[in-house]
Structure formats: structure tokens, C-alpha cells
């Protein structure tokens, strides 16, 4: 009987430990997916490459302002593609607000499409987006090759695409700026390109479209 009790206790401990191990392994896989390669905004774009001139498209903002997406006039421009019914987009709005305050040289333009004007208006009011220019345009999204939301395109002060990609988190958004500073198209390219020398780190993607040997 003593032996049996002891055996049951040992088995319990083993089962719990195995449960922990299995969970930890599954978690590890998740962490690997997340950390190993695509740590930054994912770039899938057939239309635009880093270093391309940003297409200039005139749009009208919600408050009736006529502005041009891609026309930077000496400042950088971040085109942030979003939709009122996209939860991840909403969770990034506070980050965008902070960003706009922090990066004075960057003009943030929100671009959305579909839906009714009222929906967009309500979205801007609910989320207090009055500080941003908010344009509704399908053409801008199509010209910039935007497939999935939320999507960010950073245009440098010379009107060239500095970095672009799907933006799912604060880190992804920051990675767009990081990629611009480092002169690589996307964090994946940086990671995929093997070791990067100091020169490469500082070369300018805008002058030399990033086409690294894969």
C-alpha cells in the first residue's frame, strides 16, 4: 500500500512536469516564429521597392483638405493604411499619436477605403484622430501595393520610399523607422542578408536601391 501511494505521487509529479514541458515546447515554437526572422514589418509588395519614387496621388481629407500622398515637401511622410473595422489598427492608434509628437519631421497621413463616409467620420470622432490628416482613397492603397492592414509606408524627405510593410505591433511600426535609418528595405532583408558591415549599415537606400544578394 505504501508503495502504491508512493508510485501514484511520483506519477502525478511526472505528469505535471510533462505537461509543463509540452506547453513550454509549444510556447518556444511561438517565440521562434516571432523572434527569429521576421522581427520587423513584413514586406510583401509587388508594386514598390525601397528607393522607388513614391507615387504622388492627390486626395481629399475628411475635413476637406486637398493634399497629395507621396508629396513630402521637405518632410518625411508616413502613410498608414487602416480601416475602422480592423482591431489591430485601433490598438496601434496610441502609438501613432506618440509617434507624431516625437517625430516632428514626419507627417502622418492615415489612408482608408471602403465603408461609408459616416463610418469613417464616426471612427475619427470615437478614436480622436483629428490631429491626423485622414483620407479615404482606394487608389492610394492600390498604387502603393497595399494588400493587408495595417500597412505602413515611410517616405523620406526626398520623396523616395524608405521602408514599407505590414505593421502589427509597436515594434513593427518602429522597425519601419529603424529600417530607414539602417538603409535596408525591411528587417527581414537585414536579417536575411547575413553579416552587415559598418559601411552597409550606413549606406543610403534611397540612392542605391537595396538589392542584396540572397
Amino acid at each position: 500500500m505504501e508503495l502504491l501511494t508512493g508510485a501514484v505521487v511520483v506519477l502525478w509529479v511526472l505528469v505535471v512536469v510533462l505537461g509543463v514541458v509540452v506547453f513550454a515546447l509549444a510556447r518556444q515554437i511561438g517565440v521562434l516564429y516571432e523572434r527569429v526572422a521576421p522581427a520587423g514589418a513584413l514586406m510583401i509588395n509587388q508594386q514598390l521597392k525601397v528607393g522607388d519614387a513614391a507615387p504622388q496621388i492627390g486626395v481629399e481629407t475628411l475635413n476637406g483638405l486637398e493634399i497629395t500622398a507621396g508629396d513630402v515637401a521637405g518632410r518625411g511622410q508616413l502613410l498608414f493604411f487602416l480601416a475602422p473595422d480592423c482591431p489591430i489598427c485601433k490598438s496601434l492608434l496610441p502609438v501613432l499619436k506618440t509617434l507624431q509628437r516625437a517625430e516632428k519631421d514626419i507627417e502622418v497621413l492615415l489612408v482608408s477605403d471602403g465603408g461609408t463616409l459616416e463610418e469613417h467620420q464616426a471612427f475619427v470622432n470615437d478614436e480622436d484622430l483629428h490631429q491626423f490628416n485622414y483620407a479615404i482613397s482606394e487608389i492610394v492603397g492600390r498604387s502603393y501595393g497595399v494588400g493587408k492592414l495595417p500597412y505602413g509606408v515611410l517616405i523620406n524627405e526626398r520623396g523616395l520610399v524608405a521602408s514599407l510593410g505590414i505593421v502589427n505591433s509597436r515594434e513593427h511600426l518602429e522597425s519601419l523607422f529603424e529600417a530607414e535609418r539602417m538603409g535596408v528595405a525591411s528587417i527581414q532583408e537585414y536579417l536575411g542578408g547575413g553579416s552587415v558591415s559598418g559601411d552597409e549599415l550606413h549606406y543610403n537606400a534611397a540612392e542605391e536601391p537595396a538589392e542584396k544578394a540572397k
Binding site: G19, G30, D85
Partner: protein
């Protein structure tokens, strides 16, 4: 014997809701947006409904930990409600929306329905079984089973999240 089953079921459901409510409270903005994306409620009702659901889940957890039958009833009702909401959106062909499970956005799938249905079966089973009295041995076995069941549940959730994570980050299709 019965009490061990009852304790395991109740506490497992409590763990499930505790994992779920954490995101609802810490990322309330996102939870509201998720609820809105389900397109089942008019805009004006989304915020109050989100608050009510989070509050209801907290009450459910307390009742479940205290082994109250009402906790199981509430838990089953909430799980059925969520399963219905997912089913309606899958039928509408909108399975790409975030399920609202927290952390990694996970798209709606049969797996999530299976998860909810399994939990509902566990809840109803325990409720029908009931128990006579809580014994010390029952408590110990119940606690052990809860730990293992909770770990298995977390593993299941993790694997589902991994699937979405892989699709979104590596294939870019989410």
C-alpha cells in the same frame, strides 16, 4: 470520486476564463474593437457590452473557484454565446476576423468551436454529476487534475496561436 470531477471541471473553466479575461481587461480598447468586428451589435452598444462581458467573466471566475453551480451555468452560457457569435461570422464568410482570444490575433476556425463545445460538455457533465461533499482526497486529486488539464488547454491555445502567428508573420496572409 464525483467531487474530484466537479472540482476539476469548475477550476479548469475558471482557468480558461481567467486566461481570457486578462486580455479583455488589460487591452480593453482592442477587445471593444474585436467585439465591433464581429458585427453583431450596433455601434452604440459595443462599449457597454464589452464592459458587461468582462464583468460577467470576472463574476464567473469567482463563482467557479468557490465551486458554486451558478458559476458553471454562467460559464456554459458565455461559452455558448461566444460559440454562436463565431459560428454566425463563419457562416457569413468572415472567419478572418480576430477571435478575441487575446495575444496573437487568431482567426475563427472549427478548432475554436470544438474548444468551446468541449468546455461546454465538461461544464454540463460536471453540473449533472454534482457532488455530495468535499473530501480532502477529492480536493487533492481535483487540484492535480486541474493543473494538468490547464496545461493541456494552454498548449492547445498555444498551438492554435502558433498557426496564426506563422501565417501572419512568415506567409503574410493574415
Amino acid at each position: 470520486m464525483n467531487e474530484a470531477v466537479y472540482i476539476t471541471s469548475s477550476w479548469l473553466l475558471a482557468v480558461v476564463f481567467a486566461l481570457a479575461v486578462r486580455h479583455k481587461v488589460t487591452q480593453f480598447i482592442r477587445f471593444k474593437a474585436t467585439l465591433q468586428a464581429y458585427e453583431l451589435l450596433p455601434q452604440s452598444l459595443v462599449a457597454p457590452a464589452a464592459g458587461a462581458l468582462a464583468g460577467l467573466e470576472l463574476v464567473t471566475i469567482v463563482l467557479l473557484v468557490a465551486l458554486q453551480g451558478a458559476g458553471i451555468v454562467l460559464a456554459v452560457a458565455l461559452l455558448a454565446l461566444y460559440a454562436m457569435a463565431m459560428l454566425i461570422n463563419m457562416a457569413r464568410g468572415r472567419s478572418e476576423i480576430d477571435c478575441g482570444c487575446g495575444d496573437e490575433p487568431t482567426e475563427l476556425s472549427g478548432w475554436l468551436l470544438l474548444r468551446n463545445v468541449s468546455l461546454i460538455v465538461i461544464g454540463i457533465g460536471a453540473w449533472m454529476l454534482g457532488f455530495a461533499e468535499i473530501t480532502f482526497a477529492g480536493l487533492v486529486v481535483g487540484l492535480g487534475c486541474t493543473v494538468v488539464a490547464a496545461l493541456l488547454y494552454m498548449t492547445f491555445e498555444q498551438i492554435l496561436a502558433n498557426r496564426s502567428l506563422h501565417t501572419r508573420l512568415w506567409l503574410g496572409e493574415a
